[in-house]
């Protein structure tokens, strides 16, 4: 099985443990990630904030490169990149006039047969939990996690087409398969504050504080995310010492992947004490 893969800028920088664990886990699962040729930045929030056309054309170039691979799925780990790519896909599929403009600028012909999928969606719904289950060597017994989806994966549902926008369950199902225990809580799709962290850190601290305290109240020992920006905000703006994992890291842990120590080293809040206390170190 081969899929087209768009790592995005942060998989090589601020969320490199997400990128590393993703690549390792997929190796274990026997799914080949074919990196999009000469990919560029999706434009992030900055681009759509200031230049709509640019915010369509940058992802369109990524799509055009992915089309070149001839593979039918384009897999995106970062929720922010996923959101931008899906928004562009939505426009390319539904607005013929705008599609023509974008195609002309980027210099390609859009082919709707390419499916853009979130990494979490691919793991849970395409590869399937049965295949995940087969790979679990060390079930994450006793680990209580709060699954945090944030905004970009689930909203707007017409654009992302991912799970229930108010109470998604994909990550919970995955965690149960890994042997962990997901807690039920009400803040799983609340916003972390995103890039306001760079300009209004105090606001983001308030937003993050609310999310984390609710996770703790629900009995969670750690948070699981699928977004680089969410992970960074949750980890950086807290004093609770609550570890914040990428779901791929926990998959790697359950698969008993050696390289995991390299991932833990990249965390601002080390997950080692928690994992050791549960005998999962």
């Amino acid at each position: 099985m081969r899929v087209s893969y768009f790592p995005g800028c942060t998989d090589r920088s601020s969320s490199m443990e997400y990128g590393l664990s993703t690549e390792e886990v997929f190796r274990v699962l026997g799914v080949e990630l074919v990196e999009v040729e000469d990919w560029n930045c999706c434009g992030a929030a900055a681009t759509h904030s200031l230049n709509r056309l640019l915010s369509l054309c940058l992802p369109a170039r990524i799509i055009s490169k992915a089309l070149g691979s001839g593979l039918s799925w384009l897999v995106v780990p970062c929720a922010g990149c996923f959101s931008n790519l899906k928004k562009t896909e939505y426009v390319l599929r539904n607005d013929e006039k705008e599609r023509r403009v974008v195609e002309e600028i980027v210099g390609f012909r859009y082919d709707p047969s390419l499916e853009i999928l979130a990494l979490l969606d691919v793991v849970v719904n395409r590869i399937g939990l049965d295949r995940i289950d087969e790979r679990v060597k060390r079930p994450l017994k006793g680990l209580k996690v709060a699954c945090y989806y944030g905004c970009a994966l689930v909203r707007h549902p017409k654009v992302t087409g991912f799970d229930d926008p108010e109470n998604p369950q994909a990550m919970e199902r995955l965690m149960r398969t890994l042997g962990a225990q997901p807690v039920e809580w009400s803040y799983k799709v609340d916003c972390c504050g995103a890039d306001l962290a760079m300009t209004y850190g105090s606001i983001v601290s308030q937003m993050v504080g609310r999310i984390l305290s609710m996770a703790v109240e629900a009995g969670a020992q750690a948070i699981v995310t699928s977004c680089g920006l969410c992970q960074m905000n949750l980890e950086m703006r807290q004093e609770l010492g609550l570890p914040v994992f990428y779901f791929t890291e926990l998959m790697g842990l359950a698969f008993d992947v050696e390289q995991r120590e390299r991932w833990w080293a990249k965390h601002l809040i080390s997950p080692r004490p928690l994992l050791e206390s549960l005998g999962l170190g």
Partner: protein
Amino acid sequence: MKEMWEGGLRLGEGDFSFLEEVRRRSGEHLDLCYQCMKCTAGCPTAPYMDIKPHQLIRMIQMGRRGEVLGSGAIWFCVYCQTCGTRCPNEIHIGVLMDALREMAVGEGVEVKERRIHLLHEAFIQSVRRGGRVHEVTMLMDYVLRSRDLMKDSLGSGVKLFLKGKFPLFPSFVKEREEIRRIFERCTKKQ
């Protein structure tokens, strides 16, 4: 008795082309808003906004161009889309906010939340340079533009740098010419 009281509106002298323009730029049917305020009720950054999302729509309906484009509110939206997902009239306020920001900058309105604007600018310039964002140079660019030496931006950067998560050297797209052309076309069009 010619004037209404302070702050009163004389409709008919209002700018109804504004509503039409925002509708065209954003593609959102703002006339449908019946002010249920669900958007504001669920907005995580509304507490920090000078004009709340539902009020913003009302003011667009009433042609209040200057106040809307000059507001800080349009910069505090982080596009979480909670409003757009829940709006009973399918108004994507996030998309609307994008359009308003773009209009404000395009019309040269004095941006109330300068730092947020400049961070976005610094990011876009970083992508323009290499096709991919390079955090170190991007943050330096932002600090120089905004003279914001606060720990929010720099502090985060330093922490990540120390963890080895901010590479010193940028990773560039090979076909830089393609990126340059896209930027040229997209910025000329505006």
